[in-house]
Subunit: 409 residues, 2 copies
Amino acid sequence: MKAVLVVLDGLGDRRCRSLNWMTPLQAARSPFLDRLAAMGETGLIDVVAPGLPNGSDTGHLALLGYDPFKWYTGRGPFEALGAGLTLTDTDVAFRCNFATVSADGAVLDRRAGRISSEESRVLAEAIPPMHFDGVEIIFKHTVEHRGVLIMRGDGLSHKVSNVDPHGRETKVLKPKPLDESTEANRTAQLLQQYLEKTRQILENHPVNLKRKQNGLPPANYILTRGAGRLPNLPSFREKYGLSAAVVAGGALYKGVCRAAGFEVVNVEGATGTVNTNLNNKAAAVVESLKRHDFVLLHIKATDTLSHDKKPRDKAEMIRKIDAVLEKMYESLPPDTHIAVTGDHSTPSEIGDHRGDPVPVLIYGPQVRGDDVKYFDEISCAKGGIGRIRGTDLMTIIANYVGALELFGE
Amino acid sequence: MKAVLVVLDGLGDRRCRSLNWMTPLQAARSPFLDRLAAMGETGLIDVVAPGLPNGSDTGHLALLGYDPFKWYTGRGPFEALGAGLTLTDTDVAFRCNFATVSADGAVLDRRAGRISSEESRVLAEAIPPMHFDGVEIIFKHTVEHRGVLIMRGDGLSHKVSNVDPHGRETKVLKPKPLDESTEANRTAQLLQQYLEKTRQILENHPVNLKRKQNGLPPANYILTRGAGRLPNLPSFREKYGLSAAVVAGGALYKGVCRAAGFEVVNVEGATGTVNTNLNNKAAAVVESLKRHDFVLLHIKATDTLSHDKKPRDKAEMIRKIDAVLEKMYESLPPDTHIAVTGDHSTPSEIGDHRGDPVPVLIYGPQVRGDDVKYFDEISCAKGGIGRIRGTDLMTIIANYVGALELFGE
């Protein structure tokens, strides 16, 4: 038997004034998800810990069964892995943005006017791998204004602060060591040298000169954040006896799954945005499950609309996803188990992550079932699964599939 | 946004024969608490661990988010802190009672006939700080027959047994080392020397001579118990991003909160007894919340009536508290979150702590809500919070207030 886990990013929500004090899931009243909830079993998941707001990185680690308190150091290495880079376990990796920074260090636009992928790619080609004191520093552009940075060499540390002020400060920050070690101090210093050097390259690059001529903000600085090291995760197959694939748009989700040994399925039109091609992703799930025991399908749009504070659009998106999932499910072998949940709550009247638990449903022939009829935050609180931790979910799914080894005799 | 946590000591109970097989909370049917439960969300808390009976000390540590298995060594240091003493992290602190002990060591009255605060204070003034082998030993009287003792110096251990037989033995016990260390052995020996010395001082003190003349039991011995060291707790503000104050009568509650970095608000008439001035305490909560993000209100009376095996009086007291809380709540800013729970269960037909979970409710504008209409042990078992641990409560409250940092990105 096989299983599909659908993660709707930022799915959990609160009652919204603009939805007559319903949550977006309640307002959506999706016929397929409600049917799965009615036939299957439901519950709530504290993805990382009760009440603790978590990111998508720690959330996905937890949902795959890896305790983020044990394994997580920063988001950088998962972004790098998701962008197709290969990391050693001593590399320090960062997420980056191309940004517009003034001569005196003011961050004028932390996305360089949302510079296009095309222009960013040309700029990135002008930045060669560089060496500072025996450390190689590599920049790779991913999509739009985004990229990843890797520092490779001996004597480095991931305990380095963010350069990206992320809206809290107006000035670009200097990378600072986050502990007392000589490694952290050295890493911060080398990174600063690198950022100054790339700034010179970017400032006078023809792409930026042309942007300035056209009144567009130049992409003249690389803002780094999320320094981390790739954890040496025990493989997902080893943990759960399941060969696995992931269907996702965003690099992060591919990266976390790659770190766990998943096959990363690239899908045309899977953009990780609201305009992603859901039908292509659903078709990829059906295809991938022919080769694997387990497929994770990640859909970002629910979180994006939550951050944009659009509860009504979130509900509408859930209904749209519901229809695609129904069609997908009809194409799967009839004994396939399906689970649906989120990686964290993003209350859409707040527009930011919160630590409220997320609803979960599991349906399949081996599931006991419960009395819950609807898939939403309030109904699922009464479900047969009860209130579990994110790290428990995969064991429960793998159990239904019959993939787990006995502990004891 | 701000929050108030109301801890009704020993709140959890069992069905009582004398209450038509209802629990005191069910029998009370408090209109305000029931309204909060109906509008908010409810659940059960295993304060320390499922089924494990816990004290008020470990219970309050857990409710504030400090795992007592990690941080707790004994009650002494919290009593000392609550009595206004300052402790170093190497001091060993004890709770004490003035007691009446016969010439051959029989404990005739472990509270010395509940000697008054006035007489006790005079006796305590006759006991100077003493030095034994480089260790300073300090006694401080608190209320009625109670006090605290501090041993200060190098080479001490808190692994020392109770001198107070606490009703289980008739003879006063000798302090014994609880492990094999030379420190524990030395601490026990020095304490014994101190107790002999103070006995001589107390025996012939005019206060005691007069008590004997009047046929009252003399306070001629100091019974120690609850040896412990002050744990170096990470501050509550650091953990939850909340500045905090406590409104409580008893020294223990003030002490635990002081150890976590709370402001201790002293309230006239807050006695920690059944006759405490609830209105003054409620007013102090309203005032304190103007200066702080979070206030803990502790009310002891529910536990006292449980120990006295008075379920009917406990229900009556809950109704009385309910009215005071309603008035208090009306004076708080309308977006204040309020949580109500207990620090342990004290079934009032047993008269002692038991490990049954305690009910909890949380109400406020950010709370999802559930179907539960009443605040009692049975109704709350069906609530949206489910069954959580004591150490999870504050994270859940801080999440609703929006005070927590994201874990991950």
